[in-house]
């Protein structure tokens, strides 16, 4: 099976600054692939390299079996792209803009634009410059999906969309995958794409710091845990928690009231061992905060650096 996207040692340098370091990426047909990382991690650089908007400093790229530069306009007709920072200005109406873009992209089936616009709740008659950020983003989505391209490259596609439209978008992505289309999407928030992506690569400072399924990344990530426990002494609990390898930054403080203690800790990976330890007392309250991606990435990054 030929990959839809394949990069080898792909690098992009701007003067002395390296935006992308030796990226090796393989995206198989019919999958949804997530590119996650904080701002400035190299996500947009990667996606723009695939579209031949910018060119690699070194390394190779193949998209749908072709080098993007050699593939040119014919290749880009087979790609649907939402730019990372979609700015639309001008008096032109959404309808006129999409008609123009349909003319210069792959063949668009009759009614496809209207169907997508209706689905996303996009009004086509208004001048694009008067549209809200969310509505501009909807135009971006319509123009990427309208010609049912074999490959969709979506840079922060959900930015500015309200939750209902985000859900509709995720449905569109799943439908595209079920139709055999391949989707590459980027986000700086893992939770935004965790429901859609089959596989995720985490980028930080231009390098891949983790790759795998969303689940495996989630289990490797860092969580903040807070609990209130009754019936256990602060000292005993501290000692017990310090014996759990996955727990760090342990703080156990007696509560002002009765014999309760407040526990705070950072947990790497599974929370099981920590929670079991807390159960030596009676658990009054427990909060496990959603992994903060920035923090997880920094954590992964420092670990990757340490392994070097």
């Amino acid at each position: 099976m030929t990959p839809v996207i394949e990069t080898r040692a792909l690098s992009k340098r701007y003067g002395s600054h390296t935006a992308l370091h030796d990226l090796d990426l393989v995206v198989d047909p019919g999958t949804v692939f997530g590119l996650v990382g904080p701002n400035g991690a190299g996500k947009t650089t990667t996606l723009r390299l695939l579209l031949d908007i910018i060119r690699p400093s070194s390394g190779t790229v193949r998209v749908l079996g072709t080098d993007p530069r050699a593939g040119g306009a014919a290749l880009r007709r087979r790609i649907g792209f939402v730019p990372g920072e979609l700015r639309l200005d001008g008096r032109i109406s959404g309808r006129a803009l999409l008609t123009h873009l349909a003319e210069i992209s792959g063949p668009v089936a009759p009614g496809a634009i209207d169907a997508l616009a209706e689905r996303l709740g996009l009004e086509l008659g208004r001048p694009v410059r008067t549209l809200s950020k969310g509505n501009k983003q909807k135009i971006g989505l319509v123009q990427a999906f309208m010609h049912r391209p074999p490959l969709l490259v979506l840079d922060e596609p959900t930015s500015g969309l309200d939750p209902l439209v985000q859900r509709e978008f995720l449905t569109m992505v799943r439908e595209a995958r079920d139709d055999g289309q391949t989707v590459l999407l980027s986000s700086h928030v893992l939770s935004e794409i965790q429901q859609a992506a089959d596989e995720v690569v985490v980028l930080a400072q231009g390098r891949i710091v983790a790759r795998g399924s969303v689940e495996s990344l989630r289990s490797a990530s860092v969580r903040r845990l807070r609990a209130v426990v009754v019936g256990a002494s602060a000292d005993a609990l501290t000692a017990a928690l310090e014996g759990v390898p996955s727990a760090t930054d342990i703080a156990v403080t007696p509560a002002p009231s009765a014999d309760a203690v407040h526990v705070a800790a950072t947990v790497r990976g599974e929370v099981d061992a920590v929670v079991r330890t807390l159960m030596t007392g009676r658990l009054l309250d427990l909060t496990v905060e959603e992994p903060d991606l920035e923090e997880s990435i920094l954590d992964l990054y420092t670990r990757t650096e340490a392994e070097r």
Partner: protein
């Protein structure tokens, strides 16, 4: 809700730029018409001995710098007040700003990225964008010919329609040359400000060079480097077609478009 219908035709980029620039084009057309209507009908009232006396009293350097040597003839007057002065300024500003818009402006606004992410090549974009600028300048040229010709008889200018066409071609060629210098600057840099600077710089330098050359026999050679002199040095409105001058303007413009096109197809598009 009306259905969106997509019909594919030739030159999608040129058509979009012309469609979106239509209002602006009308504005520039109105401006040029107003300038022609303001200056040209004054010609009969200026045919007085007092004016000749005034001109004689001015320092000859000033007369030559302003290009007012032949202002007492109809063709000299139309040349000095319209084609060589306000018309030149307006056409240059229009052409350079359009060139800046389709190159650096499109790039800075992200519009170019979106266009090039579709089935449009860099070369195709550059050529179609330059064509849109050319078409708009030619439309202004056609309008200027029609307006001046309409004023000719009431203003007693006694212009020759063929020579009027010749000067319009030189005038449009001059505007085009500055515009394509801006086009090349914008395509090389991706910045609108560079495009406008390059286009305006070429126009101002061209004007200044011929003005200096007009005042000094030693510096007459400078005229060879002035697009303004290529356009009007042989007084096409009085003398008719100046083919070498036209060739320099139009072929030079073509070369600048080629430079811009090659530059755009070789470099990264800025975000």
């Amino acid at each position: 809700m009306t259905r969106v219908e997509v019909r594919r035709g030739p030159l999608p980029i040129t058509r979009r730029l012309l469609g979106e620039g239509f209002r602006g084009l009308i504005g520039w057309g109105l401006g040029l018409t107003a300038v022609a209507l303001l200056y040209l009908p004054l010609f009969p009232s200026m045919q007085t001995p007092e004016l000749q006396g005034l001109l004689d009293s001015l320092p000859p350097e000033l007369i030559r710098t302003l290009g007012y040597e032949n202002i007492t003839s109809g063709s000299g007057y139309a040349q000095s007040t319209f084609f060589g002065l306000m018309g030149f300024v307006l056409l240059t500003i229009a052409g350079v700003s359009w060139a800046g818009e389709v190159t650096g402006g499109a790039e800075e606004s992200g519009r170019l990225e979106l266009t090039l992410a579709h089935g449009v090549g860099r070369t195709q974009y550059a050529m179609e964008a330059a064509l849109a600028v050319l078409i708009k300048l030619c439309l202004l040229g056609a309008l200027a010919w029609a307006v001046v010709w309409a004023i000719d008889s009431p203003a007693q200018l006694e212009l020759d329609p063929g020579n009027l066409l010749a000067v319009v071609m030189s005038w449009v060629g001059l505007g085009l040359f500055s515009a394509t210098a801006g086009f090349a600057g914008g395509a090389l840099s991706g910045r609108r400000i560079v495009a406008v600077g390059a286009g305006a710089g070429v126009a101002v330098a061209g004007y200044a060079l011929q003005a200096v050359a007009n005042n000094s026999e030693d510096l007459e050679g400078l005229r060879a480097f002035s697009p303004y002199a290529w356009a009007f040095g042989e007084a096409p409105l009085a003398q008719g077609w100046d083919l070498p001058g036209l060739a320099a303007l139009w072929l030079g413009s073509a070369a600048l478009v080629a430079v811009g096109t090659v530059a755009l197809s070789r470099r990264d598009i800025l975000g």
